[in-house]
Amino acid sequence: MPVPDQDSLVSVLQHKIGTVGNILPGQLGKATIQIESALNRKVIQILLENDDGACIIALTGLDLGEKIGLMYHIRTKGLVVTVKTEVSKEDPKIATITDIIPGANFHEREAADLLGVVFEGHPNLSRLVLPEDWPKDLYPLRKDAKLEGVSSKLADSQCNTQPEVKMQQSQTDSRLVNIIVGPQHPALLEPEKFSLKVDGETVMDVEPRIGYVHRGVEKAAEQRTYLQDVYLIERICGICNSCHALTFVGAVEKILKTEVPDRARYIRTIILELNRLHSHLLVLGHAGLEIGYETLFQYMWRDREPIMDLTELLTGNRVISSSMTIGGVRRDLKEEDVPKIKTQLAILRKKMDFYQNLYRNERSLKMRTQNVGILSKDDAIKLCVVGPVARASGVLTDVRKDEPYAAYGEIPFKIITRTEGDTFARLIVRLDEIDESINIIEYTLDNMPSGPYRVRVPRIVVAGEAVNRVEAPRGELFHYVKSNGTAYPERVKVRTPTFANIPAFLKTAIGGSIADVPANFVSLDPCFSCTDR
């Protein structure tokens, strides 16, 4: 992928936007553009004209006292550009950008939910992460929000809602039948609700209701110290916990301008790739379960266990590794563990031959996954999807190559893409990425530098803000951290890959058969604890 000339992007921005906004190069990504709130659409339009593959990564809102700050983090040509603007607290109105970038839909809803910003022209500003009976004018992310005891008061006054597990006639079209999937459903490991409107066996519409796992992590992060936050943030999701930890820690290190030792960077790479291995094996096995192929599920999870053992060997715990810390890693890699890791990886590599053969040649599997849930490349870009879902539709996006972190800049590896964009492609991309991950770990072990594995950092972090991105197994993970010179962060914003990918699922499910919904859904590799935080 061609790396854009470092200064050309900034000079283009200065040329096109310099008159209406303030360009600050090198801040919050490649550059920060400070503008008035009324110009947000114009600036985003200019960015899209410059690069029609531009996508929105996240929309950070934060309480600045008298105003509410809004930051549009845009990914253009593989780099991050932040558009900063502000609205007043009494009348927080701003124009929507969902018609220019459809993928901004969920982001604006979340800002409306948690901060009370009104996006004029948004098609549907209903609640996203907060429960339906949450008090109307209570916005949790505002500094003056009174949140004590709200939940228990709501829980006590439990209104007896009607049982929703009923075949209702849809209000809009009496032919359609409403089927509600979740919050407790064997297909979903996590509680979320999807209302499928079906006509016979064809899905006509999907309405998701997420937020069942919303635990208020972003607000809680402001009330804990940076080091306590590492333990909180990594428990956003058990499956990609190391990625969350590294993204947060990396952002803080950017604010502190810490130089992380080489050995720590390499050990971090190994832990991240082990994370990717276990996550891909998990979802490939789960895909087998969804399409009724229990034998495949059992085999894959059997072969996943050695990876959990390796994680335990390296970090002390099977799942939540707690190995990342600000300034390095907490435990060193012991020399006697290296041959053990290599042996297990060699065994896994041989087993992957069996799975490659199975996935590519097993007829019943292909019948269920080929040409199911097709996502075209244009849709993938417009909806701003990330990760293997995007790569399976032909979009070349991978943070490890776009903006290398840890040791990825020094390790040779391939990005796997396919062009079909169906469920089968999404699964094969992950299957091939497993082989690449094994290569990366072996290279890292062979070229491990010596030296310290962590450096000491001050407890109180200087004022500043930073963004950081990491390629989690599900896609691009994004954190924004702002510090105010105390031991507690001012604002932590997390944008997880599944949050960006859910609109793609809605698009691919509509028009398909209801029997395809589980396979399609699992190929998305959804992680709702990530989405809801």
Binding site: P191, K219, R235, E305, I320
Partner: protein, 151 residues
Amino acid sequence: MKSLTMWARLKSPWVLHFNSGACNGCDIEVVALLTPRYDVERFGIKLEPSPRHADVLLTTGVVTRQCAERLKRIYDQMPEPKFVVAIGACACSGGVFKGNYTVLGGVDKVVPVNAYIPGCPPKPEAIIDGVVKLLSSLESSKPEAKTSASA
């Protein structure tokens, strides 16, 4: 006849797994129980899809405000005799999320719990140990008694 029923109940505990707000760490360890390395089918434990079929409710994660009602409803739908096992630090007491604005706390704020299995997440061996301890505690106590004390 009673001892025959008790024997049958101990040898065939069917479980329902419900996540009421977890980070997935405990969930994947629960699903790992069915896989070849741990294989709880040896004990007759089957993972059931519907609350009506299950004897033991395995809950993971904190109870968020949004899930509280659903958890209670699922518990009510299960036929007697039924037991609840809270898996993980979050389900026991709220874990790292205690005090957050949508978190009610551990599972025992909503349903009575028969066994607590701490850990973050507990290893599958710990979960098996907890379930086996629950079953053997039932053997020594009266079959109809349903306590909320830990096993």
